[in-house]
């Protein structure tokens, strides 16, 4: 297969492996996982600090912050989940499961 490939493509594949193999080894080490863990936590902490500050500023101006909208969305989602459950329970008690039939594409 590779003998049918042009020389430039073989060279790219060789170069990719030469660079890629050490990187793949590196991203499987404990050091890498520890760094990613710390980086993820640091990013989250930084985000919390920024969001906290902007929330305080917005609340001082009597404006809703992102966290308020998020709480509302969570409450709405909880309510919708409950409604869906009730609707499913009623359908099953009726013995007529909600059923659909349509052509579909992904």
């Amino acid at each position: 297969m590779s003998s049918k490939q042009p020389l430039w493509l073989q060279a790219v594949h060789r170069l990719e492996r030469a660079v890629g193999e050490p990187i793949e080894k590196a991203v499987r080490t404990d050091t890498y996982f520890d760094v990613v863990t710390k980086a993820t936590r640091a990013t989250a902490q930084a985000r919390r600090t920024v969001v906290g500050t902007s929330t305080r500023v917005l609340h001082l101006l009597n404006l809703p912050a992102d966290s308020d909208v998020r709480r509302m969305r969570e409450q709405l989602a909880r309510m919708e989940r409950r409604l869906n459950q009730l609707s499913d329970d009623v359908s099953e008690l009726d013995g007529s499961p909600p059923r659909t039939r349509s052509r579909t594409r992904p």
Partner: protein
Amino acid sequence: MPPTLNPLDLVSRVNRDVERSLLRARNGVRYMRGSLRADVGATPKEVVWKRGKAELWRYRNGTVRHGPPVLIVHSLVSRSYILDLRPGNSLVEYMTGAGLDVFMLDWGVPDELDADNDLERYVDWYLPRAVAAVQREAGSDEVTLMGYCLGGVLGALYAAGHEAAPVRNLVLMATPVNYDAMGAMVALLREGRLDPDELFDDTGNVPADALYSGFYMQAPTVEVAQKATLLENLWNDEFVESFQAMAQWSRDHVPFPGAVFRQLVEDLIRKNVLMTGSMRLGDRRVDLANARGNVLNAMAERDNVVPPPAVEPVMELIGDPARREELRLPGGHVTFGTGRSAVKHTMPGLTGWIIDHSDEET
């Protein structure tokens, strides 16, 4: 002595190269413009049942010659069209073409409404209803349950946790049970590293981007080689379409529902509970050896997402020991859906086993 070059050969080679260059330019423009969308999930199907985001599809592709019907339970982390990627390169198309009645349980794209979905919700709520819908649609007393990746874990827990589960056959494709052998895929989630809640977004789910990054970092430079291969084959419409389909799928992850992700990390990854042979689900303990039906444990030899050592213990844990069989396949994690190796080995292997354990329909 070097071979002599026939002038006619030379002309035909020049013609071919000019033609390919023109096709490369045309496909290159289409590719860059994004107008070259692959036709994925093309096997004709209809939605026969739907609850929440979950949909049950029934494929229509020829006469059904074998029963019971096959219900494919897809994983929670990727899109199900990997099993029906392209015409001529689709497990679903192959199975329906062989006379099997194939259904797919697709979980859709979770949002904040699904953040509370836990294993019990999938195993004890969705699956029994989907199986009943398959029985109703196909007029069958039993099903062949086929789970891919985490879908296999859901299927095995369902087959083991429900005494009346009408499972004739349980086909597990790349189904991880030994999470200590999962390597880099789960290393970030081990004790002392990231907690599940640290990965959740505002919807309470793990965002699709985080999952994509996890897979991408397994081989971060491979994309360069793939793009170079694409450039060389850009003249070939068939190659470009296959490349597009695969590239589309590998980036097309779905958010992972928060509650089930928490269970996955705390019970399956950190405690490795499946290796004990049982798992607490709701208010009961599910013993994996109680799984109904003939069990086929299919694994891919070069799978670096769910490596064989993570899958092999199925042969000691799930179902009746006398009814367990193993199928080792060449290829990687996606060999269950697509690729040259899939067409040559996976599709005939899986389909043949199912037909051998099915009845002729009259």
